[in-house]
Symmetry: C2
Subunit: 198 residues, 2 copies
């Protein structure tokens, strides 16, 4: 199943809030579904803490990452779990939009505030669809694509180890065989996302 | 509403079939929604003939366009209506996949056959979600992004005319004022997609 990897994506930090707790995660699945009214959809893994916050609050922000987003932003928001850590701890490159949610200022070229009007259960993920309630342009730096991230931002995986590397987030599973039901503890992708370290 | 234009997209020819009639259209909204099982979603304007075919048959192919796709392919599949013309007339760069539908061979780097399991009404568009029933890699040429299409494939709009140009497909409306409810006859976008010719 490699044809499916040829689909083109951007990369986004999705932020949400539950009470006083803020969280965010990295997703590649944000798109405009209609122009009149402007509606956006995102697809979020049910295992993500941000997923549960959006489900509860019906609101989220999309920070559209630019080519200037450093790897540390992908690590901070994409490679740890908001249930265990406060992802905004020690981070100051964000502001709150009118809905009270954070968005990223320096790593994003634009942000969209979305009010959810439809949730679609698609199995491991939920698709959230909603209207654009607020939007702001932040810079003229081009948006980062998945391909650009792989080519220019993500460090090459360490090749000394023996095992399997997750092509999505770079997590390394050490061992001779990858269990068939293995799920990446970082980005929640299954064995189809792993390749042997050469 | 310009922040929303910073979202990153690929470009795809969506093909479907009704009886003996084949059709296809250009969309920018194909993405993988889950990995287990592999599912893909696309968002299609209800005004498109391909939309009605998919609604009826529950099947479509996604030809993932590569950077080698010529402008003529975007004209053929994106800038005329399949109700008026046979878009495959005089075209021979396609084959049929196991489901009997066409996919593009020379302009695509991969194709996916999708069996619809869910339709979501999002207003002007329908989102079709389904499992990948078949897939094929066709070339190593990189996928075309919306941005690449604008920068390298789409001819610059003719600037002699006075009026408004559709930023999506290049259609030119001649006149001093664009009616507020104007819909692009080619790509079905509204006035928000138009800008004055400078």
């Amino acid at each position: 199943m490699s044809a499916i990897f040829k689909l083109t994506y951007g990369l986004f930090v999705l932020t949400a809030r539950d009470g006083n707790k803020d969280n965010g995660c990295v997703v590649n699945t944000a798109l405009q579904v209609t122009a009149n009214p402007p509606q956006v959809s995102v697809c979020v893994n049910k295992a993500n803490y941000t997923h549960d916050m959006i489900m509860k609050s019906g609101e989220f922000n999309v920070s559209i990452l630019s080519q200037e987003a450093p790897f540390s932003v992908f690590q901070r928001f994409g490679m740890q779990c908001g249930r265990d850590v406060d992802k905004f701890d020690g981070f100051d490159e964000m502001e709150r939009s009118a809905n009270g949610l954070y968005y990223l200022t320096r790593s994003a070229n634009a942000m969209l505030s979305i009010k959810v009007n439809k949730t679609v259960d698609v199995g491991t993920h939920t698709m959230f669809i909603g209207e654009v309630a607020d939007e702001k342009e932040l810079s003229d730096v081009p948006s980062v694509s998945y391909q650009y991230y792989f080519d220019h931002i993500k460090p090459k995986p360490e090749t000394k180890k023996k095992g399997f590397v997750c092509k999505i987030c770079g997590y390394v599973y050490e061992g001779d065989e990858l269990p068939p039901d293995f799920i990446c503890p970082i980005c929640k992708h299954g064995v189809e996302a792993f390749e042997p370290i050469k």
